[in-house]
């Protein structure tokens, strides 16, 4: 009987204290959600004048026109399509580089290298992920710039290609670490069962391992894309900052040696120069909303894909 006594008669401060802690934890959890909504609401609020006011922005023109002259005194024009094209070009090219490298590295680390090398590689890749983006931008401006000029004979090296390579280097660590997790999650018994059937290692990889890990690998790629779309500083520094659409209708459809400007870079560069509440200021917030929507969709897709893995 005496054993249960302390439970029945707990001191009052304990009861109150536990209640407090419980509430604190609850607030922490809920606040994460509140912050996201608050940020979205703030961005929306700053943009609402130009979205719904009388002098409102022509959204169609905003999305399709290439004329970005926000600072013109007589006739400011807000066509973001060149900026969208800039973002898309850098993102697409960087993924063309980063996805094969990232997935290849994940496969190598998970399936082919010894335990020692594996540790070394994993630590190195984590280090790579920890480099701040402004440092990447610096590398782009100096080393990459020189390399692009020398190798491709371009007049300036601050181009789509430069930004894409730098972005690829930044997203590879994400793709590698999440891709490696996905491969690690495939039980060893699968590998052993396949090998026991007398198939080669490559047949095992191709027919068993990749199908089993495909959702996780897809999530790795999508999170890499998300990283690339949202990145600001490095791209701002590496791509030359010229409003320009690098796509065209003839082969190869994309000029990797063009300079471009991306959506995030535009906000970062111009927001400080605009008067708060001005038309230009508000349009920049519309760009913010656009970016928010794109990254949200990409992340949601990645999330659903990951959920798909766990649900199985």
């Amino acid at each position: 009987m005496w054993l249960t006594m302390p439970l029945l008669h707990r001191p009052k401060w304990k009861v109150v204290g536990e209640g407090l802690v419980e509430w604190l934890i609850r607030i922490c959890g809920v606040s994460a959600v509140i912050f996201v909504f608050a940020i979205f609401f703030f961005v929306f609020w700053e943009a609402k004048g130009i979205l719904f006011g009388e002098d409102r922005l022509d959204l169609w023109k905003f999305l399709t026109s290439e004329e970005w002259y926000p600072a013109s005194e007589s006739n400011p024009r807000y066509g973001a399509s060149a900026l969208i094209a800039g973002t898309a070009s850098v993102t697409v090219l960087s993924m063309l580089i980063a996805v094969p490298f990232g997935l290849g590295a994940a496969l190598f680390i998970s399936e082919f290298c010894g335990p020692r090398l594996k540790e070394v590689l994993k630590i190195t890749i984590e280090l790579l992920a920890a480099i701040p983006s402004v440092v990447w931008g610096f590398i782009g401006i100096t080393i990459m710039n020189q390399l692009v000029m020398r190798i491709f004979g371009a007049p300036i090296g601050l181009t789509v290609l430069n930004g894409a390579i730098i972005l690829a280097l930044m997203s590879v660590p994400i793709i590698v670490s999440i891709g490696e997790d996905a491969l690690k999650a495939v039980p060893d018994s699968y590998r052993e069962a396949a090998i026991g059937l007398g198939v080669t290692r490559w047949q095992m990889l191709y027919r068993v391992l990749l199908p089993a890990a495909k959702n996780g690998l897809l999530a790795a790629v999508l999170l890499g894309v998300g990283r690339a779309i949202g990145e600001t500083m490095a791209v701002l520094m590496c791509t030359g900052h010229a409003v320009n659409n690098p796509f065209n209708t003839t082969f190869p459809f994309l000029h990797p040696l063009d300079s471009v400007r991306t959506l995030p870079a535009t906000i970062a560069a111009e927001l400080g120069e605009t008067a708060q509440g001005s038309q230009h200021y508000q349009v920049l917030f519309v760009i913010g909303l656009l970016l928010f929507t794109i990254t949200f969709v990409v992340n949601m897709t990645a999330d659903l894909v990951v959920k798909g893995i766990k649900g199985k």
Partner: protein
């Protein structure tokens, strides 16, 4: 008297994982078309033995193997064509491993990998293997659903069908009934009695009575030591040479 050539010959087989010795110089041989069972408590090295035989132990980096294992007189450590060699050994794991493929593709996986691609031949092979594994009637209408959607007992029969798909000479079963119900177990035991016409069977089993029902000879492994190997009847009749064997089969071991 000339001895019948053995299908599998194991001589002084010793295996280490790192510094830990898990098989201590065991020697035995298995005759063609024999059902040979291996009994012993957990951690005795039974699974390790099977992994040495089909050389999947190669994929455990810290494992070391000494001694001789021969299949039809050929040293398995030095086979020329390792993939061809592995196909001569069928392997069924304790927990069914349905590869993330359809039922059909699970069975067609190995034959395809060594070049069988004609649809009719594959169809026929898949049907034959699934029939042999006593699964055909239950799955013939849904060959394209994922193998992992089947029940545990069905999946285990699927892995048997898959092991038969490369027409092995030796079929190894590692505690195949550990996760399935007694009815399915009996079904598979009947399958094994049929299969022994065509192949040699090594049956590692956690059910002592299963060894008694099926095996011609039985080997008792304990902590990596071969305690005794003899005719199943003798091993189970309480007159085995080693008192540990008698205690183990009587369930009074320990």
């Amino acid at each position: 008297m000339v001895a019948q050539p053995s299908k599998l010959n194991v001589d002084s087989l010793t295996v280490w994982y790192g510094d830990k010795q898990v098989l201590n110089g065991i020697s035995f041989d298995i005759k063609p078309n024999e059902i040979f069972s291996v009994i012993g408590p957990a951690q005795s090295g039974k699974t390790t033995l099977l992994r040495v035989i089909n050389r999947t132990i190669d994929f455990t980096p810290n494992a070391r193997v000494r001694g001789l294992v021969e299949v039809d007189g050929e040293d398995v450590a030095h086979v020329k064509d390792i993939y061809g060699f592995r196909r001569r050994i069928g392997m069924v794991a304790p927990l069914p491993v349905g590869l993330p493929l359809s039922i059909y593709d699970n069975v067609a996986f190995a034959p395809r990998s060594f070049g069988l691609s004609k649809r009719e031949e594959l169809d026929e092979l898949v049907e034959r293997c699934l029939t042999q594994a006593a699964l055909w009637d239950e799955v013939k209408d849904r060959l394209n659903t994922l193998g992992t959607k089947l029940s545990g007992g069905q999946q285990q029969r699927l892995t048997i069908a898959r092991a038969l798909s490369h027409q092995p000479e030796i079929l190894c079963l590692d505690e195949f009934s550990i996760a399935i119900d007694p009815v399915t177990t009996m079904k598979i035991e009947d399958v094994l009695k049929e299969l022994r016409q065509d192949m040699t069977i090594i049956l590692v089993t956690n059910l002592i009575q299963q060894a008694r029902r099926l095996a011609d000879r039985t080997m008792f492994l304990l902590n990596g030591d071969l305690i005794e190997v003899d005719d199943t009847e003798k091993m189970f009749s309480g007159v085995a040479r080693n008192p540990k064997t008698n205690a183990f089969v009587a369930g009074t071991f320990g």
